[in-house]
């Protein structure tokens, strides 16, 4: 199955059914089919060829979804770009992908100009999915949205195969260079077909699209919904700051599926925005990205007894999710442990020791995943690919998640945390090393250390930065924040800062991170 084929078949069967809803704008499957055919032709006409990368530099919107579908129809690979991320970081991505084209909107023109100025040569064309930037911006336009009308709207043929890459999602890399995870049509289609079968997704479903499009959970929202012929409701990112508005959105849109990250669910529970038997249309609530605290789960399960609750788990490298656990009943107490459960069909979870051998049930080991979700690897990075995608004599190709896990007596898998310096904060996977690398590059610090501190609040793991300025300089947290903002996206910004003359060292002469974590915890963090 190719991801975009689903749009054509839905448009043929139910042309007037609503496909996408964004604020007050709605489009049908027929419109999505026609616009994406027209945009695909514009991409091809502008010179894009099979396998070329097309950057999507725009906020989540109907145009952005049309662009995803159109890029695949043109036989190209889409690369969603985070419009909140600074130009310097985006330029690294453009440089690595060698985009043939960037599809953008007017509101991103300043960002695009910033990216262009970071690059030594800009060989990409720009397609504007609105009227384009102001004339004085110096950004050219291969085409604009109005040009769609000049293109035929009938289906377009391409020779894409299921094993071809459909999109590349960039995640945090410890050396400061983001890693591009390649996801094939077959990878994503496999999960979507399993999930739509497991959840019994229907054309009458009304499904949320809450995460940003550069976040792999949105892949399921978008392609899962289109595959089922259901309605996709785009959630404005600003709503995540306002828990009452978020609840009102679920209620008023009559959503049947809400897929979110634990930090947002915790925030909603903390402000007690869910009424008893609220959201009467809601059938299922799913989360992924990190562990949901049991008290939050209990809150939702008590308020929404008619809703089913499913924990999904899986890194981007194994496509959306690899395991699932539907909570059978409200946990009896806050100490209950929620497993990540069982592998999705076609995938396997392995708990192995340091010699890649299976370990006895109940013991803690490293979690590996194999099966149909496994990405072909990182974009143009053989070394990083080979370090985590391993050929195993008995198990075949396996991916090292970096998570610690054990197999329970119930044969379910339980997660126990990370084996490295990667953290999850507000659902985002972050290499703390990337933040340290960025801080060190500023040239105003003698040394720094970034640690994750578990908080009791809804933000989950808080990013904390301890630093010592270069002797003779005075550096405030605001100074650092301002400069760091140019290098990392907002979700990587430390929330807590601690200034030192020199960072504390352990007996081995290394920065004493456990002690730093204690210092932060002793302050207002925890």
């Amino acid at each position: 199955m190719l991801l975009h084929d689903t749009v054509r078949s839905q448009a043929a069967q139910r042309p007037d059914a609503v496909a996408l809803v964004s604020q007050r704008q709605t489009i049908t499957y027929q419109q999505l089919e026609e616009w994406s055919n027209q945009l695909a032709r514009l991409l091809l006409e502008s010179g894009c060829r099979h396998g070329d990368r097309v950057g999507l530099l725009m906020p989540k919107s109907i145009q952005a979804i049309v662009a995803m579908v159109a890029t695949l129809k043109a036989g190209c690979i889409y690369v969603p770009m985070d419009t909140a991320s600074p130009p310097a970081r985006q330029a690294k991505i453009v440089n690595s992908c060698e985009h043939a084209c960037i599809l953008a909107v007017n509101s991103a023109s300043r960002l695009l100009a910033g990216i262009s100025s970071e690059l030594s040569n800009c060989n990409f064309r720009i397609g504007w999915l609105d009227s384009g930037p102001a004339a004085e911006s110096n950004l050219d336009a291969a085409f604009i949205w109005d040009d769609l009308a000049s293109m035929p709207a009938h289906p377009i043929l391409c020779d894409t195969k299921p094993e071809d890459v459909a999109h590349i999602l960039f995640t945090s890399g410890s050396t400061g260079v983001p890693k591009g995870v390649m996801i094939t049509h077959a990878n994503a289609a496999h999960f979507i077909q399993w999930a739509n079968r497991y959840f019994g997704t229907l054309p009458t479903d009304r499904i949320s699209c809450h995460p940003p499009l550069h976040f792999d959970l949105s892949t399921f929202d978008v392609w899962g919904t289109l595959n089922a012929g259901a309605e996709l409701h785009l959630v404005s990112p600003e709503l995540s700051l306002l828990p009452h508005k978020l609840a009102a959105f679920i209620r008023d849109s009559e959503l049947t599926q809400w897929f979110s990250v634990p930090s947002v669910l915790k925030y909603m529970a903390q402000f007690d925005v869910v009424r008893q038997d609220d959201f009467p249309a809601l059938k299922r609530l799913l989360w992924c990205g990190e562990a949901l605290p049991v008290p939050t789960l209990m809150y939702f399960m008590r308020r929404l007894p008619a809703v089913s609750f499913t924990n999904l788990y899986g890194p981007t490298e194994t496509t959306i999710a690899s395991s699932y656990y539907t909570i059978p009943s409200c946990p009896p107490d806050e100490q209950s442990e929620i497993p990540i459960g069982l592998p999705c069909a076609g995938e396997q979870l392995h708990v192995l020791d340091e010699f890649l051998q299976p370990i006895p049930r109940g013991e803690i080991g490293d979690l590996y995943i194999s099966g149909q979700g496994l990405s072909p690897g990182y974009w143009r990075d053989r070394q990083k690919t080979d370090s985590v995608f391993i050929q195993h004599a008995d198990l075949g190709r396996i991916y090292k998640t970096g998570d610690l896990a054990r197999l329970g007596p119930d044969r379910l898998v339980y997660l126990l945390g990370r084996a490295d310096s990667q953290i999850k904060s507000r659902g985002f996977r972050i290499e703390l090393g990337e933040i340290e690398t960025a801080l060190n590059s500023l040239g105003i610090l003698r040394e720094c250390a970034v640690v994750g501190v578990q908080t009791g609040g809804f933000e989950g793991t808080a990013i904390c930065c301890a630093y010592a300025p270069t002797p003779g300089l005075q550096v405030t947290p605001a100074d650092l924040r301002e400069r760091l903002m140019q290098l990392v996206p907002p979700y990587m910004m430390p929330a807590y800062w601690l200034a030192f003359d020199a960072l504390p060292l352990n007996p081995n002469g290394k920065i004493d991170k456990p002690r730093l974590r204690e210092s932060f915890a002793a302050q207002s963090v925890a």
């Binding site: 300089l473 405030t476 924040r481 290098l487 807590y496 601690l498 200034a499 210092s519």
Partner: protein, 121 residues
């Protein structure tokens, strides 16, 4: 490229919080509060704070708490919408529409909220 280019070698890092606060009343105070609570320097009163990712949920809650303390107001999250916190100008309007009264000295050096004051070893 690289922002370190903007820092002349060997010079002290510029700007203390006092230099950020302009002499124009409420607007300057809000900007100072953003600096104190979120370590966020805002370039203009109309800059889009949401687009710039100044707030995360925790940060927003702490900032509103700081507004409440400072201006003797009660602001609950369900009363505000995204537009009322979109820029310094809008926050000023929010405070004025609530009839907020300044409860503190404008140049108070006290840090509240999430930024941790000098804990140098």
């Amino acid at each position: 490229m690289g922002v370190s280019d903007h820092i002349p070698a060997g010079s002290p890092a510029p700007m203390s919080s006092a230099e950020v606060a302009p002499a124009d009343g409420l607007e300057g105070e809000i900007r100072l509060l953003l600096l104190e609570v979120l370590a966020a320097r805002v370039e203009s009163a109309d800059a889009d704070l949401l687009e710039a990712g100044i707030f995360d949920s925790m940060g927003l809650v702490q900032f509103i708490l700081a507004l409440e303390n400072r201006y003797g107001l009660k602001i609950t999250l369900d009363e505000i919408d995204a537009d009322s916190i979109r820029s310094v100008t809008r926050i000023v309007e929010l405070i004025q529409s609530r009839g907020g009264k300044d409860q503190a000295q404008p140049s108070s050096p006290e840090f509240h909220g999430r930024q941790i004051p000098d804990a140098a070893s």
